[in-house]
């Protein structure tokens, strides 16, 4: 049975801590002396007081969380925190309604990077910073962070963390204690972000741009402080750096962690996904570059390669930056990119989608079925890196794929029924559920999501949330059996 009160108690602590996270953009605002300063003061106050009140009300009901409570906690954290995160936006931009603001903050926390705001270049720096900070926090995961810095989740922390971490097989603890694992992951993430900031600065960005873009690069989020995204810089060096760090963000952070600790490359070699991930991207980048050249989109191969590399990697890793309006490319290229974003990133990375490991398992399962027709008596295990994968994992992956496909279709249908054209609807469903960002047609890189009506915005918001939490965590909370005593 689920016990809502202990869950609310933990949630209240997280809300209080979240209020502290708003102090960072407040600092930025003070530093730049921008116009949004008053917004943070109020936002911090409201958030802090709400959290504290909730804590006071549920204090007497504290208890250690069970696995089931964990699902509820994760679901609540990911729906409630974005609501508080809207406060600075709502206060600073009075004409913004809650639906759009909530869409914006969900897009930030889920690292989707779709935006309803335009004129980003004219926004106060602190607002852009806040959007990127949210992406950075959501990238590695709020619960993971909570487990790392707050002891309150106790033993149940490992179970709860699993419901937030993407991937089909989450048994592997990297260290004996879950807190250490969470700390390790966040440390690696932070170190890489720092490295990204420094390199961005070194190749020509200003400090502010470097920080904001590093936050949304490593988290594979995709928010930029410029309407033209990376097109604003028009610098191959900056694009190359971004490509490199997007590639890093798309690999399992557990693997990064092991590589850091051993100071060797061997964990990457034994990672079952990293090889396929890099190969898939390399083939696609070259293929799309050749395709663009053959269709006379760009005059030289190098220009074609530059734009292909940046945009293909950006979309396939579910980041969503763009250096040019790829919607104007012949339709095959953007559709292929959309296809890639469904499954390219690795499990345990900051990316979204089905994940490479599930795709690999599905391909192997299909081959196994073929082989077993030819050799009915053969034992054909599905293997990853020489390890046998149990059938129950295969079934879980199959169920995931089914629900994933069902979700994409449902979202598409809802959007199409409410009046979007079918290409926009399909692409919005896919880029929403995979947490990518820009899609095709009306929601392409050169436009934004402001044209959606309220209903469509809510559908996309839900799509982003179920995508980030990999379906089950949210769906399980809305099944009646979950609440039954």
């Amino acid at each position: 049975m689920v016990r809502p009160f202990p869950v609310l108690n933990v949630l209240s602590v997280l809300i209080v801590v979240f209020a502290l996270a708003m102090l960072l953009p407040l600092g930025v605002s003070l530093m730049y002396g921008d116009a949004a300063r008053h917004a943070y003061g109020e936002a911090v106050l409201i958030t802090f007081v709400s959290g504290a009140t909730l804590w006071g009300a549920t204090r007497s009901r504290q208890a250690e969380l069970q696995t089931r409570d964990g699902f509820l906690l994760v679901a609540l954290v990911w729906t409630v925190l974005p609501a508080f995160a809207t406060l600075p936006l709502l206060i600073y931009i009075p004409e913004l309604n809650f639906t759009d603001a909530y869409f914006e903050t969900v897009a930030a926390l889920t690292t989707t990077g779709s935006t309803v705001l335009s004129g980003l270049d004219k926004l106060p720096p602190s607002i852009n910073f806040w959007r990127s900070e949210l992406q950075w926090l959501g990238g590695m995961g709020i619960i993971v962070l909570a487990v790392a810095i707050l002891p309150l989740l106790g033993v149940g922390g490992s179970q709860i963390m699993k419901s937030e971490t993407p991937g089909p097989m989450k048994e592997t603890k990297l260290t004996p204690r879950i807190t250490e694992t969470a700390k390790g992951l966040w440390l690696v993430y932070a170190v890489m972000t720092l490295a990204c900031i420094l390199v961005f600065k070194a190749v020509g960005m200003g400090w502010f741009d470097a920080v904001v873009h590093s936050f949304s690069t490593l988290s594979l989020g995709g928010f930029s402080s410029h309407d033209a995204s990376f097109g604003y810089f028009n610098s191959p060096a900056i694009e190359a750096v971004a490509i490199f760090f997007m590639l890093i963000g798309g690999i399992n952070f557990g693997t990064h962690f092991l590589a850091f600790r051993k100071l060797s490359f061997s964990p990457y070699r034994s990672d079952p996904e990293a090889g396929a991930y890099v190969a898939m991207l390399a083939v696609s980048v070259l293929g799309v570059a050749y395709f663009l050249l053959a269709n006379h989109v760009y005059p030289s191969f190098w220009t074609a390669l530059r734009h292909s590399a940046f945009n293909v990697v950006s979309i396939a890793t579910t980041t969503g930056f763009s250096s040019t309006d790829f919607n104007k490319w012949p339709i095959f290229a953007p559709v292929w990119m959309l296809f890639l974003c469904c499954f390219t990133t690795c499990s345990g990375s900051t990316g979204g989608g089905i994940k490479m490991i599930r795709a690999e398992l599905m391909v192997r399962q299909a081959l196994r079925e073929l082989m077993s027709i030819i050799h009915p008596r053969a034992y054909l295990p599905v293997k990853l890196s020489g390890q046998r994968v149990e059938n129950n994992i295969i079934f879980a992956v199959l169920a995931f794929m089914l629900i994933w496909g069902g979700s994409v279709i449902t979202v598409t249908m809802l959007l199409a029924a409410s009046g979007l054209d079918i290409v926009t609807a399909v692409s919005a469903a896919i880029v929403g559920i995979t947490n990518t960002g820009p899609g095709l047609n009306q929601i392409g890189p050169a436009t934004n999501y402001a044209m959606l009506n309220d209903f469509q915005t809510w559908v996309c918001t839900v799509a982003m949330l179920i995508g980030r939490l990999e379906l089950f965590t949210l769906f399980v909370v809305i099944t009646p059996a979950f609440w039954r005593k």
């Binding site: 050799h375 009915p376 008596r377 053969a378 034992y379 054909l380 295990p381 020489g386 390890q387 046998r388």
Partner: protein, 457 residues
């Protein structure tokens, strides 16, 4: 020599049998009383019932004043513990241990002096696997043996009508393949050995043992029979230790199918093997063999634990069209019955594996012993030490060395060089000498030749 053997399984009893006949005092320890009784009925040795890893049992077996301990129980751990006890408590000078797990074998420090301190680790399954892998690589050969770290090979080939040398005297070999330095070490016609001379004529059906540098082996075999097509497809019946090792060793280079009856074992096999196809079923199930195209197999290897199963599945596979069948057969009488009949090669595990062990047991500096023709003949590799005064070989021409009739020095490996022995070749210190002995009874005399006299330090 006083020897304690721990474990009276297949390897233990074969070793005991070989060593008893060489005038040693043997004590065998096992936890199975029936096995010990069987052994004692057949052989002249003492037995002790009990766990081989218990100090009291070891003391009872006389470990305190024995010269050598051979631990060959089923359990690696028992063997290792016994070895450590023997070294630390009882100061046994020589300790030979049988190990199965590659984990122990692959780490040198585990077996080194500061850990378990094993003098010689043997893995019978690995030796057998190597043996069979050679047969896969050289499908024409009956047996392939390596000496001097693989530089020299000895192959047994059956001469067939159509080989260029068949029907001709041996001295013609030099005319046929002038570039290759080779030596015919022995010929067996029927069951009797012939020590080859220049004018010995090779007949069809002879079993010819030739020695050559490993890279020349194929050319030499070509003289004695037409070559078969290279092996591509292999079917292994039985997924036990040997089946698994064999499949792992060859799955990269050949198409391998492996049949195993036990479902749980099948799961393990399919996990450990990358490319080989694991099939669940009875190795004598005609339907399964048919469905998996046994008729297209270049080689069918039966390595289950059961002699009768191996024989029957091989006979079946042969009749259904497998090109060549190899069976693992434990019982000596079966081996003699079947070898070179309908079953192309019958391998006796005991004979194939104890060679290495025996090499260590024997005196002198014999580094390698291979049993040939099911143990009738032997080929051994010895390192020569000392000088003209302390050793009866060093500094002498081969014709001067007092070898018993029936034994011949076939080749000498000096550093990296392989020298085919001629009557005037001079043996030097530190040479590896490869000696071919057609009758096992001559062994003690041959070994004496390579001993260094007491004065030599």
């Amino acid at each position: 020599m006083k020897i304690v053997i721990l474990g009276a399984g297949q390897v233990g009893s074969s070793v005991a049998e070989s060593l008893v006949s060489e005038a040693n005092d043997i004590t065998v320890v096992d936890i199975d009383g029936t096995r010990l009784r069987n052994l004692q009925d057949r052989l002249d040795l003492r037995t002790v019932l009990g766990s081989a890893a218990h100090p009291s049992v070891l003391v009872e077996a006389g470990i305190e004043d024995c010269d050598m301990m051979i631990a060959v129980t089923q359990s690696d751990e028992t063997n290792l513990v016994a070895c450590k006890l023997a070294q630390q408590l009882f100061n046994v000078p020589t300790r030979i241990v049988r190990l199965r797990a590659t984990d122990y074998l692959s780490n040198e420090r585990v077996l080194g002096p500061d850990c378990f301190d094993v003098d010689l680790a043997i893995c019978p399954e690995q030796i057998l696997t190597d043996y069979i892998v050679k047969l896969v690589e050289f499908p024409e050969a009956l047996q392939v043996l390596e000496f001097a770290h693989g530089k020299v090979s000895l192959v047994a080939v059956r001469a067939f009508q159509g080989g260029p040398l068949v029907g001709h005297p041996l001295k013609d070999l030099r005319k046929h393949i002038p570039s290759v330095d080779t030596r015919i070490a022995a010929i067996f016609r029927g069951d009797s050995p012939i020590l080859p001379e220049g004018d010995t004529v090779v007949q069809a059906g002879d079993e010819v043992f030739c020695l050559a540098a490993t890279e020349d082996i194929r050319q030499v075999m070509h003289e004695l029979r037409r070559m078969d097509q290279a092996v591509k497809r292999v079917m292994i019946a039985g997924g036990g230790n040997i089946g698994l090792r064999l499949a792992r060793a060859i799955e990269r280079d050949y198409t391998v199918k492996i049949i195993e009856y036990d479902k749980r074992r099948c799961e393990l096999l399919s996990t450990r093997l990358d490319r080989a196809l694991v099939l669940q079923g009875d190795v004598t199930d005609e339907g399964l063999l048919e469905a998996e195209n046994v008729s297209d197999m270049d080689l069918f290897v039966a390595v289950t634990n059961d002699d009768e199963n191996n024989i029957m599945s091989c006979l079946l596979a042969k009749r259904m069209g497998a090109r060549r069948v190899v069976a693992l057969i434990n019982r000596r009488s079966y081996v003699d019955l079947l070898h070179a009949g309908q079953i192309d090669i019958a391998i006796s595990p005991a004979q194939a594996t104890i060679g290495t062990l025996l090499a260590h047991v024997r005196r002198g500096h014999v580094t390698r012993v291979h049993s040939l023709r099911r143990g009738v003949a032997e080929a051994l590799e010895a390192v020569v030490h000392g000088d003209r005064d302390s050793c009866r070989c060093v500094g002498r021409r081969i014709e001067e060395i007092d070898l018993p009739k029936g034994a011949a020095i076939a080749a000498i490996v000096r550093g990296d060089k392989v020298i085919m022995a001629h009557h005037d070749t001079v043996v030097q210190a530190e040479d590896h000498v490869i000696v071919f002995v057609t009758d096992k009874k001559l062994l003690p005399k041959v070994e004496k030749l390579f001993e260094v006299s007491v004065g030599f330090v």
